[in-house]
């Protein structure tokens, strides 16, 4: 329900520009927004809980009582004393009923297992992505930019290919696992390997074909009128 099959959005801010986005994210309806908000809260609470657990197990000395910081948290924040502020915040969390419950529940777990599982939880909460979004931006006269990933705290990996470097944009077929897939590639001058567009999602033929037509229309319009769509296919 939270994800769909890859589908295509086309944005054309101007006649010489087009952005093709393939994403697994469905249309943002109110229930979906609520669900996504819930997931965000879940991520934050998971991270907080994991950090608190690590703090309580490894950094908190039970023999020495916690010293209240001299100043109030607000003044600490203003002064820029991050470390005492963080320690205080973590201790407060630990001392809260929820923190105490977590601490007592995890008491029997050995330290190494606790460390591993907490780190894993933090990693997943930070980097796991619900949706995959990949896009292709075409600017006539400039070139095309592919972008993959993004979302969460990660940045999307982009690659810009200037027009004079583009030899061709075409659809090819290849074996992948136990099937034969269609995929869109950009042949770049002077490079051994072709650049695969939408490498993670590898959308189905319908989408790939629509993008291919759009890219050719936007990039080579005028000079590519006589081109026969079929002639470009598959001759790699």
């Amino acid at each position: 329900m939270l994800t769909t099959n890859p589908h295509l959005y086309i944005r054309r801010p101007s006649p010489t520009t087009a952005e093709f986005t393939v994403t697994t994210c469905p249309r943002l309806t109110i229930p979906l927004r609520l669900a996504l908000l819930l997931i965000l809260l879940l991520r934050i609470s998971t991270i907080t809980a994991a950090i608190t657990t690590i703090y309580a197990r490894f950094f908190l000395d039970p023999s020495s009582p916690h010293v209240q910081p001299a100043a109030s948290p607000l003044s600490l924040l203003i002064q820029g004393d991050i470390f005492p502020l963080l320690t205080h915040a973590l201790y407060t969390l630990h001392a809260s009923p929820a923190g105490q419950f977590l601490f007592s529940t995890l008491e029997p777990v050995p330290s190494w297992a606790l460390l591993l599982s907490s780190s894993a939880a933090i990693y997943v909460a930070l980097f796991a992505q619900l949706h995959t979004t990949e896009s292709l931006l075409v600017l006539r006269g400039l070139g095309i930019q592919t972008s993959t990933g993004g979302g969460g705290v990660q940045r999307a990996r982009t690659r810009f290919i200037p027009t004079e470097k583009i030899r061709d944009v075409l659809i090819n077929e290849a074996f992948r696992g136990f099937e034969v897939r269609y995929y869109l590639v950009v042949v770049v001058e002077g490079e051994e390997d072709v650049v695969v567009v939408f490498p993670k999602l590898l959308p189905r033929k319908k989408i790939v074909e629509a993008v291919w037509r759009g890219v050719r229309g936007c990039l080579f319009e005028g000079e590519g009128n006589g081109m026969n769509g079929r002639a470009e296919k598959g001759h790699v």
Binding site: N172, E173, F175, F178, V180, R181, R204, G234, H235
Partner: protein, 489 residues
Amino acid sequence: MAPTYNIAMVSDFFYPQPGGVESHIYQLSTKLIDRGHKVIVITHNYEGRSGVRYLTNGLKVYHVPFLVIFRSATLPTVFSFFPIFRNIVLRERINIVHGHASLSNFCHEAILHARTMGLRTVFTDHSLFGFADAASILTNKLLKFTLSDVDHVVCVSHTCKENTVLRASLDPLMVSVIPNAVVAENFKPLSYSTSSSSGNHPFTPHHPPPPRPLGPHDIITIVVISRLFYNKGTDLLTAAIPRILENHPNTRFIIAGSGPKAIDLEQMIEQNVLQDRVEMLGSIRHEEVRDVMVRGQIYLHPSLTEAFGTVIVEAASCGLYVVCTQVGGIPEVLPSHMTVFAKPEEDDLVAATGKAIAALRANKVRTELFHEQVKSMYSWENVAIRTERVYNGISGAISEAEFYGYEAANAPSWSATRGRSGVQSFALIDRLKRYYGCGIWAGKLFCLCVIVDYLIFLFLELWWPRERIDICPDWPRKKPGERKDSTFG
């Protein structure tokens, strides 16, 4: 309007590797495309060839990445080819799976899976096998397994048909004979004038003038082109050459080809000091065969076993008088006025060659007419038409009576598991019945394999549902009427 089919040719053997089966598949596919069918070829990957390729006429080739074990045959793993095969078959909307060569594992697997998926299957056998040694027994058992549930079998000669019927215990009615063919344009004799044959005078039949008759002291060159293996009769050749050269002074030999027996030939040449009369060229490419052939007047083919023998057709097409051993499918290949037959033994081969040399010296043989005769006998177009008829027969486009003959159709139960329309039923229980008869243990084992295959099929249908597989756009089909204009040869 004749029905057209989507056909998948499956074999381990295809270009870039050279060979007879490879060129058979290519030529047949080309001509079937010209007749308006859609043809794809599925083979395993070769060095530098992996993935999907188009050949110039729209023939699509899938080089499936697969483990190759021996002489470019793949590892026999009954089921592992199924997922990818199903994907290809569905995306190309294949109706008929046509497997080639009995040593090809891909072909056997494809036929089994195709039947599980409910497709029509044809198998073409290109070779003869023995019955006695262990390897043959194993191959024959495997062949029996595959051919228990195939719709039709095609053999390249009547001898090959007999052999296949015995090896796989088939009903002879479901085996057709469709010989190989040659591209006669590639095998023209030396004196052949191209201007007269290119259609300047379409209504005057082409009769080349008889060449200058051979005098009694002119040199006759005998050509041998074969891989130098035991089964190609190289030992026979080694024994016969000194005697032939001794009996006939003005003769020469040209031997092309390589193999383990080349060393014996070289020893023979040294022992008898025949260096100036026997020329050994080593291995040559297929394009060069014609240029070697036209250097001679007689073609000697000492093979011990041969399913068809395309090379003797090529030799006759080049205008050579053919001396060959009377084995396998060879006697069916050429009319008697083009050939002198010998028993596969030394004395007879020497005698037959002597007869051929004498006939040539006496100018009794009109070798200059051979090319036109071969051209009218063997064409790939004809092979394609006959193969198309097989496709029509198995898919029910022509009636059982027309395809198998009236007696067969009216016989009460000439094949118990055959369906009403004369085509094999796809029901699992009918298929199991066919496999069960293969042997006491083998029958049960085969049934087990078929059941597992069916379960895998069900699993694949669930895991990779059909609607998630993209359909390929077809290459623009030729209309059958267009094929006269086609330039593909």
